[in-house]
Structure formats: structure tokens, C-alpha cells
């Protein structure tokens, strides 16, 4: 395999991972604030459809992205409203919405199926694209892909280096304590839920306007929302690790297609379902780490210890619970 070939493959991994990175970051923000948005899968489909339709009608990709973002934010707003202010279970609302949003997407998108719409084409960065290997991998993509990479840094910096980010994390850990310190926990949770949904909407738009452009039934983005949810857990609710998980998944997907030629005995499905056993395994590790990490195996193998400490993280304390200020 020549150098150029590897660079192109790596580039396609980066490009393919972009929507998942964006969606997973949005969900990380939402879950860090304590609200789990189970409607990701349907939300992505709905915003993909809205983005495509808006772009199709207005011939503007930018407006398409805006439409998708609004759609994602609206779905998340419903989740937030029902769970934060009406006291219903986040899981219940999120689950209903994931099915209903998908049905809405298919229903309203029907007349636009298999039509050619505007796409966001690649926009190589003038100076940086000349770099021999890295140029092809990182700088030959559409604008949204560059944005996805920037988002990782912005997200991390915001959450861990700004006072607002501290408040976000505080509300997610213990909204009652934050409330006692004067924060309107419910408003903060709602705000970040909607923000997370906005990012999810942008991810959906990325699908239908860039990565898997067009609309149809099925679109091709089905199942991505569940994968993003798994990746958020795999990444221990930390933006950098979540992004790593997204790139790992994209790597597995691309490699799955490549490896099928090399190792036909390994079924292709192994690569497709890989994020989920990984997620379960991560959760098991986190639990084991929490329960007291004084096992012999850990002491014996420094690799295991480092692996566990890399993968460990704990969910935000108040994830999934509704907070009622008294």
C-alpha cells in the first residue's frame, strides 16, 4: 500500500468521523449537565431531512445547516421540557422521540427522496494542503470537517477552563448543591440540553449535506445516534476521549471495508457492531475501578493499570435524574 493510499484512507476516516464527533460532543455537553438525550438517533435523521429540504428549497447549504441545527435543538427542547420542567423520565421522553422523530423525518422527507441537492464540497486550506502526508489527511476536507476538529478543542476548553463550564459540570453532578449556591440549575440544564441538540442537528445536517449526501429511506445515517450515545460513555464524558472514541469507530468502519478483502473469515458485522461491546466493556471497567481497584491483576500489569485509568470516568452524578427546586 503506497503512502498516498494510506493518506487517503486516513483522510476518509477523519471525514467520516466528523458528524459522529459533532453529535457525540453535543451529547457530552447535554449529559455533563445531567440530561440524557436518548432521542439522538431520530434527531439526527430528522435534522438531516430538514437540512436537506431547506438546502434543496433555498439552494443554500448554509441555510440547510441552520435548518438542521434548529430541528435538533427543537427535539432536544422537547426532551428538556418534559423531563426538566414536567418531571417525566428523561429516558421515556427521549425514547419516544427517537422513534417519532425518525417517523417524522421519513414522512416529511418523502417527496424529497433520491433527489439531487446542494452539497458541501471540499475546501482545501491553501497553505496547509501542500504538506505531503498530513495535508491529504487533515486539510483536504469540507469546512464542517475542520469545524468538527476545532469543536473538540473548544468543547474541552469551555468545560474545563471557564467558569461557565465549571457551572455546567456542577449542575450535572449535584444540581441541588448548585442551586444552593444561587444557580438556576433547571435553566442551565435546559440551556445545555438545547445546545447539545443544536450540535446534534448540525451533525445530522453534515450527513445529508456532506458525508452521505441526499435523502432517502433509508438515508444511511440510521443507527448513528445510538453509536454516538455509546461513544459518549466509552469516552467517559470527556470531550477528548469522546472524540477519540468517534475516530476509533470511524477507523473500525473504514477498516471493516478494507479488511473484508484481506480477512474474509471475520464477518463484516464484527466491525459494525464493535462500538457496543466496547461500550459495555468500558462500563464494566469503570464499575470495577469504582468498586475499589485493589486487584492483583492491576498491580501485576502496569499496562492494565494505565488502560483502566485511561478508560475510567464516572457519569455525572445527577445524570438522568430530575431536579425539583423546593
Amino acid at each position: 500500500m503506497s503512502d498516498v493510499n494510506i493518506a487517503i484512507i486516513l483522510g476518509s476516516i477523519v471525514a467520516g468521523a466528523a458528524p459522529i464527533v459533532i453529535a457525540a460532543l453535543g451529547e457530552t455537553i447535554s449529559e455533563k449537565a445531567g440530561v440524557i438525550n436518548l432521542s439522538l438517533d431520530g434527531s439526527i435523521l430528522l435534522s438531516a431531512m430538514v437540512a436537506f429540504v431547506v438546502a434543496f428549497e433555498t439552494k443554500s447549504v448554509m441555510l440547510g445547516f441552520a435548518g438542521g441545527a434548529v430541528a435538533g435543538a427543537l427535539v432536544a427542547a422537547v426532551v428538556g421540557l418534559f423531563s426538566i420542567y414536567l418531571g417525566q423520565s428523561q429516558v421515556a421522553v427521549g425514547f419516544v422521540l427517537t422513534l417519532t422523530a425518525r417517523d417524522l423525518a421519513y414522512f416529511f422527507g418523502n417527496p424529497y427522496a433520491r433527489q439531487y441537492g446542494p452539497q458541501m464540497g471540499p475546501w482545501p486550506i491553501p497553505g496547509l494542503r501542500e504538506i505531503p502526508f498530513l495535508g491529504t489527511v487533515f486539510f483536504h476536507h469540507a469546512v464542517i470537517i475542520y469545524l468538527s476538529m476545532l469543536m473538540i478543542a473548544v468543547c474541552w476548553w469551555y468545560m474545563y477552563r471557564t467558569p461557565k463550564g465549571l457551572r455546567l459540570r456542577a449542575v450535572g453532578e449535584h444540581p441541588a448543591a448548585a442551586y444552593a449556591r444561587g444557580t438556576d440549575s433547571r435553566r442551565i440544564q435546559m440551556w445545555y440540553t438545547v445546545l447539545g441538540g443544536l450540535l446534534v442537528g448540525i451533525a445530522g445536517a453534515t450527513f445529508s449535506l456532506c458525508t452521505k449526501s441526499g435523502w432517502g429511506r433509508p438515508q444511511g445515517a440510521e443507527g448513528t445516534g445510538w453509536i454516538a450515545l455509546a461513544i459518549v460513555i466509552f469516552g467517559g464524558w470527556h470531550p477528548a476521549k469522546v472524540a477519540f472514541g468517534a475516530y476509533l469507530f470511524s477507523f473500525l468502519q473504514v477498516m471493516g471495508i478494507q479488511f473484508q478483502g484481506w480477512w474474509p473469515s471475520i464477518p463484516a458485522q464484527v466491525f459494525q457492531v464493535a462500538p457496543f461491546p466496547l461500550m459495555i466493556f468500558t462500563l464494566l471497567l469503570m464499575y470495577a475501578a469504582q468498586k475499589g481497584s485493589d486487584t492483583g491483576a492491576e498491580r501485576a500489569s502496569p499496562f492494565l493499570r494505565r488502560l483502566i485509568s485511561f478508560l475510567s470516568g464516572s457519569p455525572p452524578g445527577a445524570l438522568g435524574k430530575s431536579f425539583r427546586p423546593e
Partner: protein
């Protein structure tokens, strides 16, 4: 009888709530249909009447009602104990796989009736074990049952695809249309002209009645209820929540597994990639709408399947996508959630 006026008051209030909910759902649905550019009246006609217009259609509805109701019965167990068994889809699939495996084994020996019975048993066992595994992930591994179940759903789907394209593939070329059709003796017998299996109906009614009886008349049901309402108090009473989590999941998985086997023996007569027809997820909606009780589950399941069957004609007749049925189902559940919120607000105000 001093209670009577209060009771009629309550019944009147409940009826009013349901009426408001129906009107709300109707309005929102009409709006959606109008936005899509279709005539609402015709759409409702197809949606609601399209499934009860003829005996054949009713047979179709009942054939869909059977697996949906079975799954929903199982879910009542898991909801009773406070678990979100999102893994029900995977349990249906594993049940279907096990049923197929049993049928594939005994094509030469044994009477068809015995084989089919064993297939259902195998499906129940497979689905039950899959669910119990999810339960153990929760009790011993701290993995939330939502994500454990979700992950195992995808694993089950992966196993299905591997089987269809690998060991169980059709001779010649493997295809998405599934494994080979079973020979006719292994099909569930149906009422002449209706394609509806009386065995399936009998099984579903038996499971419904059994579930109602277990949950309301046995110590097990009482224990499940206690743990669902207040795990801490139940623990102090000497009940082990973890044990009952596993038991509830086992019941849930067994019912779902039987639904999967029914899909294989009574509907598709082979294993296909989408063998579950999403009945697992839909059953979750059914039970949510029934306020997590067995009481309203069969009727709501029937209604949901009516919507699904009725919506099949929509693409042909009105050029709209058939997912309108899914939208209506979702709006119903959202309206129900609003109703529950309204009721709890009202009960707080009553203090």
C-alpha cells in the same frame, strides 16, 4: 354510600382527560397531514378503517397483535420492577434465532407439532437468557440496563446478519431475504383464508392472563411490585432487589423470545434480517401508553397494529409515507406523558 359521588367524580375526570388527549392528538395529527399536503379525512379513513375493512385485514392485524402483545406482556414484568428493558428488541431477535436453530435441527425426526413446540421453548429460553445476561450486567457489572440492552440489541442484530450470510445462508447466493424457507409442515397452521394462526392467538391470550395472574395474585408479583415502588424499603424487608431484577428480566426475555419464534414460524417462515419488525421498541410505547399496567395493554397493542396495517395503503393511495402510523403512535405516548405530568401536578395541588 358516601364513596359513590367521589368515584363518579373521578371517573368523569378521567374520561375528560382521555377526551382532551384524543382531541389534542387528533389536532396535531391533522396539522401534520395538512403540512404534508394530503387530505386529512382520507388519511384518517385509511389509517383507522383500512385495518378493519375486511376479514383478511383483521387477520393481518391479529397476526401483528400477537408478537406485539407478547413483547408488551414481558415488558410489564420489567417495568413493574423499575427497569427500562430497551434490550427487548435483541431478545426478540435471539428468540427468533433460537427458534430457527431448533427447527433447522429436527427436520428429519419428530412430528412437526413437537418441533414447533420445542422451537417456542427454545425461543423463550434464548430470549430469557439474553435478558438475564443484561440483568447480570446490571447487577454484577454496574452496567445500566438501558445501555447494556442497547448494546446487546446491536450484537443480536450482528449475529443475525452473520448467520444469514454465513452458516445459514441459502444454497447458492446469500441474500438479504434471509434463510431458506421452512418446509410447509413447519409453518404454524392457519385459519383457512385468513393467514391467522389460532395457536399464536391462544398463546398470546394465555400469556396475557398468566401475566395478569402472576402480577396480581402471587407472592412473586407482590415482590416485584414492592421492589419497583421502593427498592430500599423492599431490601429492608428482606427482598433482594438484584434477584428479582434477574427474574423480571427472565420473564420479559422469555415473552419476547416467544414473539421472535412466532415471527419465524407463523409470519416469515424463515430468518430475515429484520425479523423483529421493530415490535420490541413498539411494545415499549404500548406499555408506556398503558401506564405500565397489563390492563390496557392488549387494547392499545391492537390499536397500534391497526394503525400500522392501515398505513400500508397510504403510499399508494395518498402518496404519503406510511410512517404516519408511527407519528400517531408517538404523539399518543407524548400526550400520555403530558397527562401523567398533569395528573401529578394536580395531585400535588390537592395537598
Amino acid at each position: 354510600m358516601p364513596d359513590d359521588p367521589k368515584r363518579t367524580e373521578r371517573i368523569k375526570k378521567s374520561l375528560l382527560e382521555v377526551l382532551v388527549m384524543l382531541v389534542g392528538v387528533l389536532c396535531v395529527t391533522t396539522l401534520i397531514i395538512l403540512v404534508a399536503g394530503a387530505p386529512p379525512f382520507e388519511a384518517f379513513k385509511y389509517l383507522l378503517l383500512g385495518s378493519v375493512g375486511s376479514w383478511i385485514k383483521i387477520g393481518q392485524v391479529l397476526t401483528g397483535w400477537i408478537p406485539l402483545c407478547l413483547c408488551a406482556c414481558g415488558l410489564v414484568y420489567s417495568f413493574r420492577v423499575g427497569l427500562w428493558n430497551i434490550g427487548v428488541e435483541g431478545q426478540v431477535v435471539i428468540g427468533a434465532i433460537c427458534g430457527t436453530a431448533v427447527l433447522r435441527m429436527g427436520l428429519e425426526n419428530g412430528s412437526p407439532t413437537l418441533m414447533i413446540m420445542l422451537a417456542f421453548l427454545g425461543g423463550a429460553l434464548g430470549g430469557g437468557l439474553w435478558a438475564v445476561f443484561t440483568g447480570f450486567l446490571k447487577t454484577k457489572g454496574g452496567v445500566n440496563e438501558i445501555f447494556g440492552g442497547l448494546g446487546l440489541n446491536f450484537v443480536a442484530q450482528g449475529i443475525t446478519l452473520w448467520l444469514i450470510f454465513g452458516p445459514w445462508k441459502r444454497p447458492g447466493v446469500a441474500s438479504m431475504s434471509g434463510t431458506e424457507l421452512f418446509s410447509n409442515e413447519l409453518w404454524l397452521p392457519t385459519i383457512r383464508g385468513l393467514r391467522l394462526s389460532p395457536v399464536g392467538l391462544a398463546l398470546t391470550i394465555a400469556v396475557l392472563l398468566g401475566t395478569a395472574w402472576v402480577l396480581s395474585r402471587t407472592r412473586l408479583g407482590l415482590a416485584l411490585k414492592g421492589i419497583g415502588n421502593n427498592p430500599r424499603a423492599a431490601y429492608l424487608h428482606g427482598l433482594k432487589p438484584n434477584k428479582y431484577f434477574i427474574i423480571a428480566m427472565g420473564f420479559a426475555g422469555a415473552c419476547a423470545g416467544m414473539a421472535g419464534t412466532f415471527q419465524v414460524t407463523g409470519v416469515y417462515h424463515r430468518l430475515i434480517p429484520s425479523i423483529s419488525s421493530n415490535y420490541g421498541y413498539l411494545a415499549l410505547l404500548v406499555v408506556m401508553l398503558a401506564n405500565y399496567r397489563i390492563w390496557g395493554t392488549p387494547a392499545i397493542a391492537f390499536f397500534f397494529v391497526c394503525l400500522n396495517v392501515g398505513s400500508i395503503q397510504l403510499p399508494m393511495m395518498l402518496q404519503v409515507d406510511s410512517s404516519l402510523s408511527g407519528i400517531v403512535q408517538g404523539i399518543f405516548v407524548l400526550a400520555a406523558l403530558l397527562l401523567y405530568a398533569w395528573r401529578s401536578r394536580r395531585s400535588i395541588k390537592a395537598f
